[in-house]
């Protein structure tokens, strides 16, 4: 990624003359632009719809709103059954990220710092568990939660998502922790740091980008997961995504409000991606994620 690495592109110019170079560059730009268009059109469409009234949406098609209106957003922010969906989603997602990090940090430290028999296999096994389809866990979770009174609480969804997020978090964190030289641990002990002081004051700040990436992936998984979240809640903790599908089934479709709700669910993801965008590249470079 530094300037010393010669990318193949430079050589293609040497081989084939200036005209062809311009040609390939043009084609490259075309390809990338086409894909960007493909990525952005649905999002634009959603944004466009969210500022239109239902009559306009159904009446005719326009590339931008003729009568710009914020009514759809007003509906969401004034109707508890809508905005509580966001509050519920946010609550269980935050709970899940906190629990996952608390469980995964010590586990990842153990995997990265200690050698013991079978550690590689254990590590890999932990990760493969994540691949099991959530459908297998639906019925047991549902029955268990119903019998202990956890059903329809934020904690229920957060714990269910932890089952998938903890292995992932251990995996990502282990990669970042292994990047910290072991000498730092030893130096800290010699300087008389106790373990917990070392871990909190020295080690965690060193891997904070790793923690950021982990939190991002846990957030993303939990924010977009629907099957478990929808099954394990009914009223009190119903996530916004489930509310959006419910509206589809009812009396026709309130397109405008649905679009506004969609736009609002995108925003947290955009914010989180914006904050971690550089760290994510680092995570990919480590081969994790």
């Amino acid at each position: 990624m530094t300037a010393t690495i010669n990318k193949p592109a430079r050589f293609s110019g040497v081989n084939s003359g200036a005209k062809r170079k311009v040609d390939t560059q043009l084609r490259r730009k075309l390809g990338i632009s086409a894909y960007i268009l493909f990525v952005l059109v649905p999002i634009y469409w959603l944004l466009n719809m969210s500022f239109k009234s239902n009559e306009e949406i159904l009446g005719g098609l326009s590339l931008w709103p003729q009568n710009f209106t914020l009514d759809n957003y007003a509906v969401i922010f004034s109707d508890p059954s809508w905005y509580m969906g966001y509050v519920n989603s946010m609550t269980y997602v935050s709970l899940n990220v906190i629990i996952t990090l608390l469980v995964a940090l010590p586990a990842a430290y153990a995997f990265s710092r200690y050698k013991f028999t079978g550690d590689k296999h254990l590590f890999f096994w932990l990760l493969t568990n994540r691949m099991a389809p959530p459908a297998v866990f639906l019925l047991p979770f549902f029955q268990l939660y119903s019998s202990v009174g956890l059903f329809d609480t934020h904690l229920a969804v957060a714990l269910a998502h932890c089952l998938f997020n903890v292995p992932l978090a251990v995996w990502i964190l282990e990669g970042f922790m292994s990047g910290v030289p072991r000498e730092i641990d030893e130096t800290a002990y010699i300087d008389g740091y106790s373990f917990h002081k070392f871990f909190l004051k020295i080690f965690l700040p060193l891997i904070r980008s790793g923690i950021g990436v982990t939190a991002f992936f846990c957030f993303m998984f939990s924010w977009v997961e629907l099957l478990l979240a929808r099954t394990l809640t009914s009223v009190e903790a119903k996530p916004i995504a489930a509310i959006m599908t419910r509206t589809v089934g009812a009396t026709g479709i309130d397109w405008g409000v649905l679009a506004a709700a969609g736009v609002l669910t995108i925003i947290p993801g955009l914010l989180v991606i914006w904050f971690v965008r550089n760290h994510v590249a680092k995570g990919f470079a480590l081969g994790r994620v």
């Binding site: 293609s12 469409w45 959603l46 710092r113 459908a135 903890v166 959006m244 990919f284």
Partner: protein
């Protein structure tokens, strides 16, 4: 001298057990730290799988009844037309989705890997769809693909009245709508994986090939793509996993319709276990899905573990 030696051996003798205890502690500590996590994963994962497996052997309907009827639910499952449609859809949807995502991902990664300006910004844009839930993806695409609201109407309003694009309401084509929306969501992620892989390609080898006069397409075909094999493999596993557990996309984009022509196994499972009071049948379908994941995962595990032994 003797005295000093004696003192030394004494202190060593004293220290030895202490050191041994410390060694043993160092050996036990990681296991102690890991035990709770592993235990929870073990109990939840395998306990729950076992629970679902047992349920699938009973004739439970609205509530679990531990009345075992053997493999009756599986027989019913594979006689069920809706399940066969769902399986068929999964094969079609999964196959196309994985293929298009891989092809598009490699292609975009190669385009982006040419030191173009604003690479960081582009990479961020490509990652954005990942942050959007399948529900929102489904909602947005439902508009674009809806004949009376989206693309078809747009093209009609431009004057091309014969244009028709009604895949969303065509039972034979509706699966392709799922593929389009799913590719939209996941191809950026695949691209990022390949981009990381391309960065790891040995540049010396590429330079050597160029000095030998190999053209760029040849270099890509013979050197770069083969060295990306592990990335292909892990991307395939991740995409296959996404395809098998797809639920939200169908729920939002088509609701399984028209009829049940766009159902996927996860939707079948949810419908039967929670809204149609066919718990045993739902559990059986979940177990079949697990079997599908295992069929993909086991070769992957095998190659991964074998690779470690060779290394």
């Amino acid at each position: 001298m003797n005295n000093i030696d004696a003192v030394q051996t004494l202190s060593e003798a004293k220290r030895a057990p202490l050191a041994r205890i410390q060694d043993r502690l160092a050996d036990w500590l990681p296991k102690l730290v890991l035990t709770p996590t592993l235990l929870v994963v073990l109990v939840c994962m395998y306990g729950y799988i076992l629970w679902t497996g047992l349920l699938s052997l009973t004739n439970s309907r609205l509530l679990p009844v531990w009345n075992f009827i053997g493999t009756g639910q599986y027989d019913r499952l594979f006689d069920n037309d809706r399940w066969l449609v769902a399986l068929n859809n999964l094969v079609l949807f999964g196959g196309l989705f994985i293929l298009v995502c891989l092809a598009l991902g490699v292609f975009l990664a190669i385009l982006l890997d040419q030191k173009i300006r604003q690479e960081g910004a582009l990479r961020t844009i490509y990652l954005y769809p990942m942050a959007i839930s399948f529900i929102v993806t489904g909602t947005a695409w439902k508009w674009l693909l809806n004949p009376s609201l989206g693309l078809e109407k747009l093209v009609h309003s431009w004057g091309f009245d014969s244009f028709s694009f009604d895949w969303l309401v065509d039972p034979d084509r509706v699966v392709f709508c799922l593929v389009i929306a799913a590719v939209w969501q996941s191809s950026g992620f695949v691209m990022a994986m390949f981009l990381a892989g391309l960065r790891g390609v040995d540049q010396e080898m590429v330079k050597a090939a160029q000095l030998d006069g190999a053209s760029m397409p040849t270099i890509y075909r013979r050197i770069i793509l083969p060295s990306l094999k592990p990335v292909f493999f892990s991307a395939f596993v991740i995409l296959a996993h996404i395809a098998i557990k797809s639920f939200d996309l169908v729920a939002a984009l088509t609701g399984g319709g028209p009829g049940y022509s766009s159902d996927l196994p996860a939707n079948f499972m949810y419908t039967h276990a929670f809204t149609r009071a066919q718990m045993g049948l739902g559990a059986a379908s979940a177990m079949v899905m697990l079997g599908g994941v295992l069929a993909i995962l086991v070769p992957y595990l095998y190659s991964e573990l074998r690779g470690k032994r060779n290394a």
